[in-house]
Point group: C2
Chain length 347, copies 2
Amino acid sequence: MRNLLEIQEQLLPDLMNTLKRRYSILHQIKLSGMVGRRTLASSLSMTERVLRAETDLLKAQGLIEIETLGMRISSAGLCLVEELEPVMNELFGLVELEEKIRQAYGLRKVVIIPGDSESSPEVKRELGRAGARTLLSFVEDGDTIAVTGGSTLAEVAEQMSSLPGGGPLRSTWFVPARGGLGESMEIQANTIASKMAKRVGAEYRLLHVPDLLSEDAYQSLVQDQHIQEIVDVIRRCRVIIHGIGDAMEMARRRKLDEGSIQNLQADGAIAESFGYYFSEEGEVVHKMLTLGLRLEDIMRTETIIGIAGGQGKGKAIHAVLKFGHEDILVTDEAAALELEKEIDAAI
Amino acid sequence: MRNLLEIQEQLLPDLMNTLKRRYSILHQIKLSGMVGRRTLASSLSMTERVLRAETDLLKAQGLIEIETLGMRISSAGLCLVEELEPVMNELFGLVELEEKIRQAYGLRKVVIIPGDSESSPEVKRELGRAGARTLLSFVEDGDTIAVTGGSTLAEVAEQMSSLPGGGPLRSTWFVPARGGLGESMEIQANTIASKMAKRVGAEYRLLHVPDLLSEDAYQSLVQDQHIQEIVDVIRRCRVIIHGIGDAMEMARRRKLDEGSIQNLQADGAIAESFGYYFSEEGEVVHKMLTLGLRLEDIMRTETIIGIAGGQGKGKAIHAVLKFGHEDILVTDEAAALELEKEIDAAI
DNA sequence: CTCTATCGGGCCGTAAAATGTCCCAGTTAA
DNA sequence: TTAACTGGGACATTTTACGGCCCGATAGAG
């Protein structure tokens, strides 16, 4: 059975926030010994009135004692804080880890969900939900959103049914970031883009490019007017959401020949994302021959959301983050812990 | 460490209510299969609009699926209900037991707090809190409230600091139900009445009657005008809150002589309350010689709140409830389970 | 086919709660 | 004494919750 708190959080989405808030207050009162409302409010950076509502409740629950010279934790409150301490450390652990990773790679936001999506389908689903929520929180109507393929992105699309993102996004466009890359149908960028669009009532356009293009075919496709049109749309996207893969695994999945794989390995390719292969240091060491977003488009895109989870993805995520153009990272605990190792090793 | 649930009930009492509500909804949807909003609202006796807010949230959480022909629980929702079932039974368990006891003895309200107040001081404190909360919820300004002695009532008084019972009760009177009964100072009715009054900003009057009155002394006290005055006030009380004791224990505590104790035992005295001794069938088999509430006063009092806890009190509580003039019972889980045995045995 | 009952969802005015921001009387320490 | 605190009361304003109604869609009965 999963953690009771995680189960409850499905029914009470703001349970964690409230729990955290009240615990922090109680904890702070414990540390301060005897403290007044205003002092406490400023040290917790809350407004006086909000704090007051909470302390009234804590008092009604008998967890604190309020006297004329301030508030003090009661024995019941002390007992509760001590019992809750390990639980809260575990919970806040991820929050702190989020902040650590955010700082280390200079990201705008990091979201970590508990668990390992590699070993548990439920966690993978949660990762998808978190990705969907995050994506929608950054999208405004009228945006163009480029998405890549991959099983994680497929899960994001799956979980995207009318989350609390407000009204329908009627003039929003979902497009694949790059052409077809030899994935199975369900996890192709095209499929995912169209699914996402349908889920939130948005529009979509597809880019059908055969896999394993010859140079000649590529050149002629580039000239094609219809293709140019959609590629232009893709390049003007405001948001990118993309998965992150292990380089070798992706190469094998795309059925590259043995020679190319050895080349990649020689070049130190660790990670793959939007058709580019990255080295441990975040340098692009190889790229797929297909249409869509180019590096310069990626660099100037306003919001880039990377999403990947599982312990084995740690190094790959690190490599892509080193590339330095990510804004948001959505991952799971297992991968985040690997990232933490990389960060600590770099010091 | 205590159960996480108990901790949450202390820190998040409001959220636990919504947890129960949402669980009930989800559970009902599960049972109903495919059900419409209005149908569901009436079967849960909620207004349509409130239910809607909840189902919107459940949908956003992916726990139910909403289609044109109704709502259905999703696989995630089903999974959650199953995982939460034992937890919720624990939460709801006492509610059902409350109702069972309420019906069995024809009471107006039953409050059961988890645990055994006999073996845990924390539970005893909680029992006091519950008693205080219950008492205040039935009191209106202007009432006269008669209280008895006993350690449980002392705890009620202790926990009565300005609970959310609204404004101060300036014209409310707290009085002892009967004269001093040979208890130690802290748990005497007089002490408790005055403490309660001070806690909620009410008035109080005391009744000082020495223990172990001789018949002569009793007769002269009855004639005393000051005493008559306060006794009149006591007899006009609108609310009584009283503890319930084991007959033999009380007799010993009051230092009755061996003969009286054997008499009590011969008469089948099981319980004691407001100076009266009750048999298993709820008949009064003996009474203390002191002033204050008489049986006829008790019978016409509007609201009588009995409070007692601990496994050993089960039979005593049963006896007093059989007496048939209780309205409210506040007890703990251990005593309630004993009561349940009595109820089941009576069938 | 039509009719009817029921579905989810949109909408709106009001009631209630949450919140920010004061002030006040009391207490303590200097 | 003063100055700096305290908790609690009060109030205007914003935000949210709520009740109640209507609407088009849809499925099943006839």
